[in-house]
C-alpha cells in the first residue's frame, strides 16, 4: 500500500475522535529516526510509552513514507504534527467541495441516544440564522 500525505490525512480524518487523538500523540512522538526505521525495517510502526505497559498504537504505514516525506521537505525543519495541523487548517479553510469517497460524515449516538451527524475537527459552527436563510432560499 502506498499513500500520499493528503491520503494519509484523509484516512486520519475518517477515524473516530479518540483514534485521531492517539495518532496525533503518535505523530508528536515521531522523529526522523523513527521514520527512517519504517523505511529500513517494516511497514508497521509501533509506539510504546515508557510509563505504560501496553503498546498503544500500531500504525500500518506505507513503505516509502520516509522517502515521500523527505522529498516533500516534511522532515527537514518542521514536525509532522505541525505539517498535519497546517494541512488540516488548509483543509477546512478550503472552498466547499463535492463529497468524495472517504469524506462522508459519520453518524454517532448522541447524548440522548439517537443518531446525530458528527462534526469534523475544527469545523465552524452553523447558526440558526444561516439555517433559516437556507430554508427560505430553498426551491420548492
Amino acid at each position: 500500500m502506498s499513500m500520499g500525505v493528503d491520503e494519509l490525512i484523509s484516512a486520519i480524518l475518517r477515524l473516530p475522535r479518540a483514534d485521531r487523538a492517539r495518532i496525533l500523540d503518535a505523530l508528536r512522538s515521531a522523529d526522523i529516526g523513527a521514520a527512517n526505521a519504517v523505511r529500513d525495517g517494516a511497514a508497521t510502526y509501533q509506539i510504546q510509552r515508557s510509563e505504560e505497559s501496553m503498546t498503544l498504537i500500531t500504525l500500518p504505514l506505507p513503505d516509502d513514507l520516509a522517502d515521500r516525506a523527505r522529498d516533500a521537505g516534511l522532515l527537514a525543519s518542521k514536525s509532522l504534527e505541525e505539517i498535519l495541523r497546517r494541512a488540516l487548517e488548509e483543509h477546512y479553510a478550503a472552498e466547499p467541495i463535492d463529497v468524495a469517497p472517504g469524506q462522508e460524515r459519520r453518524l454517532v449516538r448522541g447524548e440522548n441516544g439517537y443518531l446525530v451527524v458528527e462534526a469534523f475537527p475544527g469545523e465552524p459552527q452553523i447558526t440558526t440564522e444561516e439555517v433559516k436563510k437556507a430554508w427560505e432560499d430553498m426551491e420548492w
Binding site: E111, Y114, V116, A119, E123, T128
Partner: protein
C-alpha cells in the same frame, strides 16, 4: 415528567436540524432541552425540510450527507417512543390565512399543524416565536 409537563412539542425544522447536527451552534442547547421534555413530534413538512438541509452543501459546509444516511438518522430519531408523527391538515383561515408574506407562510402553517395536533411549536427562530407567543416555545 419534564418541566413542561405533558405538553407535546412539534419540532420545527430549525430545532430538528440542530438536534441531529453536532455542527449546529444550538446542538447542545437543543439536546438538553429534548432531554427535559416528555413528548415531541414531527410532520412530513419538518421531516422533508430537515432532510433537504442535511443534503444541502451550504448548510453542511460542502459535505452534505448522502440520502440513505440522512434518512437513517431521521428515522432513528422519529422512531423513539417519545416521538409522534402528526399529519399536515388543510390550510386554515385563522393562521395561514393571516400570514404576512411568503417567507412566513410555511412557518405559520407549522404553527397551525402544531395547534391542530394539540402541540406547541418548538423553534429557534425568535421572529416566529414573537409572532405566535401563545403557540410556540423559543428554545434558547
Amino acid at each position: 415528567m419534564g418541566r413542561h409537563g405533558m405538553v407535546m412539542f412539534l419540532l420545527d425544522v430549525s430545532v430538528l436540524f440542530a438536534a441531529l447536527n453536532r455542527t449546529h451552534k444550538a446542538h447542545q442547547t437543543v439536546t438538553r432541552w429534548l432531554a427535559s421534555i416528555d413528548r415531541h413530534a414531527s410532520c412530513g413538512l419538518t421531516q422533508i425540510g430537515t432532510f433537504r438541509l442535511l443534503l444541502t452543501p451550504t448548510t453542511m459546509h460542502g459535505r452534505p450527507m448522502k440520502s440513505a444516511a440522512a434518512h437513517e438518522m431521521i428515522a432513528d430519531f422519529t422512531g423513539c417512543r417519545r416521538h409522534r408523527f402528526v399529519a399536515c391538515p388543510a390550510l386554515s383561515r385563522s393562521t395561514v390565512g393571516k400570514t404576512n408574506g411568503h417567507n412566513a407562510a410555511v412557518d405559520d402553517y407549522l404553527v397551525q399543524i402544531a395547534n391542530d395536533a394539540g402541540c406547541r411549536l418548538a423553534t429557534l427562530d425568535r421572529a416566529l416565536a414573537t409572532r405566535w407567543p401563545e403557540r410556540t416555545l423559543l428554545i434558547n
